[in-house]
Symmetry: C2
Subunit: 378 residues, 2 copies
């Protein structure tokens, strides 16, 4: 009988696991939040991932549970483990992807390079952090859900008062995370796969370009990244995967500072936007690798299959009906570009797909990917 | 709304259309012969493709109908066209994939190089063909279903008497196809994609290695194939696609003779075993290309993405329970090999999957693919 992987969450990351699951002969089952989601083809259940009974019922028929996102509450994860369900990544590592304060503290223990940071419980403490860090800082809600994105640049201790109030009203209480405003030259991402049995493989470090806080473009591998940079990045990725006991894919978002250090920004314990290029540009895609890793199957080769890959996200615009025509226009103009769609209704700013180009010359590859993606701009 | 492609037949070719359909955002719907087939994930109906009512009901909800195999009877195809269903490839080209005598006659009209052949209606006529072709010949049933494989090498006119008897009992009657026994140095396959609007793209010609009449291995591109050979092969493929008005993927199986001619052996109007390497070794896989072609979307780049690809079929052996373990062993030993499984119960000689290796050195690539596949031999 085919190995059964249960994915909690029906978004595009679950969707992109379908293709490798079919080829590897795995039985992929998705618990989707609602009907008609990106991964609906593989959805075997629809329900609330915050409800333990729903998740337990879904998990009863699978060999391993994994995730499209990190939002499953710890009490639901604990109920799964209690019931004997194999959960990868497990509740312990997921804690660090769910709570940025825990993550900072744990990375500090592991000796990982990161921005200067502090837990701040009120405006005075935040002002104190500002005073010692040049008068500006990034403030983050440690756990999602307080605000749109939960990230804000402030220059006064009172600029996060709404969040402090929300924290006080939240039963879990706690503090906000204050971080120094890092003077970075660019952002990078390091992906690593890790099996429960300990085998690990690192992908090449990539450069990520953000626009309005959303990943816009990924260049793989990161230009000028050979040698020391890639060694340091993969050492960080492998160290975190091992130190946090991550199983499956781990993405470590990094700042490359103007003084040439790498600092850990964020973690994601699942396939990640920074690795979509691997579908077309690596021997083993991050989606196949994640499935192999959570099933404790031998990991695939993470090497690039071409010199350069560039992935450009497609964001939904105000026009909602012309996506198919635009894809056809891209296919016509760029027959070597790889178009991936998420089956999602386009809304302004929503990621609805991506385009990847692969080749030997970075200039040409980047031009092709950007030109193809430009068909989706208004 | 997503474009809807209906595939008649639930085998591995339909299965391997699932991955590109998901990525392209297409709604793939499969009419499977029974429950639990290779393409069951995309099966929206189960029924007999020889029954017009069943096929019409299935076709009502799709934008285009295409095929996992060429066995849908002409009267069913006619009923579809009559009902206004778009069928690609259409009944006319499919006729030539269904009837080898029609195919030989039409290729002759098109001036295509092929083995010497004749329609023979009885033992005397077959003996006459043998007498003028060195005393041995290949005899084929023009349409499938009379015998196991419908291909036999004979050296006496009476050696096909059982087939002549079966023909006489068949309402359609007709003759057998006799072909000269070609003195070939190797077998090749040329794949071509063609859209209804006329656009065509040729894949590189590949070498196919048969064992016991079954495709065992494919080397892409065909070694020593650059230059004249590949030009002649692609001219043959493109000429047949256009001449027969094929839409979708066309595979032309070719003999390369010891005196360096190319002769057409068989045709297949669908994705084909000789093109499985394109999943991992070409910019656009044959499965994506078939979907694009039958939807009249612009075709993708058919170029190889690496210098060499070698695909080795996995045939089911007597052991039926250890396939998963064997796949894991392959993954362990050859992390760069791409394993594809068909979700089929292994039976001796049955194709249950394939392994592809890709790289810059043919020796290494062939070694890797063969070594990986050898894990499935007893």
């Amino acid at each position: 009988m085919a190995l059964r992987v249960g994915v909690i969450g029906g978004g595009q990351l679950a969707r992109m696991m379908i293709a490798p699951a079919v080829e590897l002969g795995l039985d992929l089952r998705v618990l989707a939040e609602e009907e008609g989601m990106a991964a609906s083809l593989a959805a075997t259940a629809v329900g609330d991932y915050r409800d333990a009974a729903t998740v337990l019922a879904f998990a009863r028929d699978v060999d391993v549970v994994t995730f499209d996102h990190e939002h499953v509450p710890q009490d639901v994860l604990a109920a799964l483990v209690e019931a004997g369900v194999i959960v990868r990544p497990g509740p312990d590592p997921l804690r660090y992807a769910q709570d940025k304060l825990l993550m900072r503290a744990r990375l500090h223990e592991l000796g990982m390079p990161q921005p200067e940071w502090a837990a701040v419980s009120n405006a005075d403490e935040l002002q104190g952090f500002l005073d010692t860090h040049g008068g500006r800082a990034v403030v983050k809600t440690p756990r999602g859900g307080y605000d749109g994105k939960g990230v804000r640049v402030v220059s006064a201790g009172t600029e996060a008062d709404d969040w402090f109030t929300a924290l006080a009203e939240d039963a879990r209480g706690g503090a906000l995370l204050a971080e120094e405003l890092v003077d970075f030259s660019r952002e990078l991402a390091q992906q690593v796969a890790r099996r429960p049995s300990g085998q690990m493989r690192a992908y090449p470090v990539v450069e990520t370009v953000q626009r309005d806080g959303v990943c816009a473009e990924v260049i793989a591998p990161a230009p000028h990244g050979a040698g020391r940079l890639s060694q340091v990045a993969s050492r960080i990725g492998l160290g975190i995967a091992e130190g946090l006991d991550v199983t499956g894919m781990l993405a470590v978002e990094l700042f490359e500072t103007t003084d040439e250090r790498l600092l850990v920004n964020e973690l994601a314990m699942r396939p990640h936007n920074s690795g979509h290029w691997t579908q077309d540009g690596a021997v083993t895609s991050q989606f196949e690798q994640h499935l192999r890793a959570v099933l404790d199957l031998p990991l695939g080769d993470p090497e690039p299959s071409a010199a350069w890959s560039v992935m450009v996200n497609i964001l939904g615009g105000p026009e909602t009906d012309s996506l198919d025509q635009r894809f056809a226009a891209v296919m016509e103009a760029y027959p070597a570009a790889k178009v991936h769609t998420y089956g999602k209704a386009p809304r302004p700013g929503r990621k609805v797909g991506h385009v990847t180009a692969v080749g030997e010359e970075l200039d040409e590859v980047a031009y092709e990917a950007r030109a193809a993606a430009s068909f989706f701009e208004d």
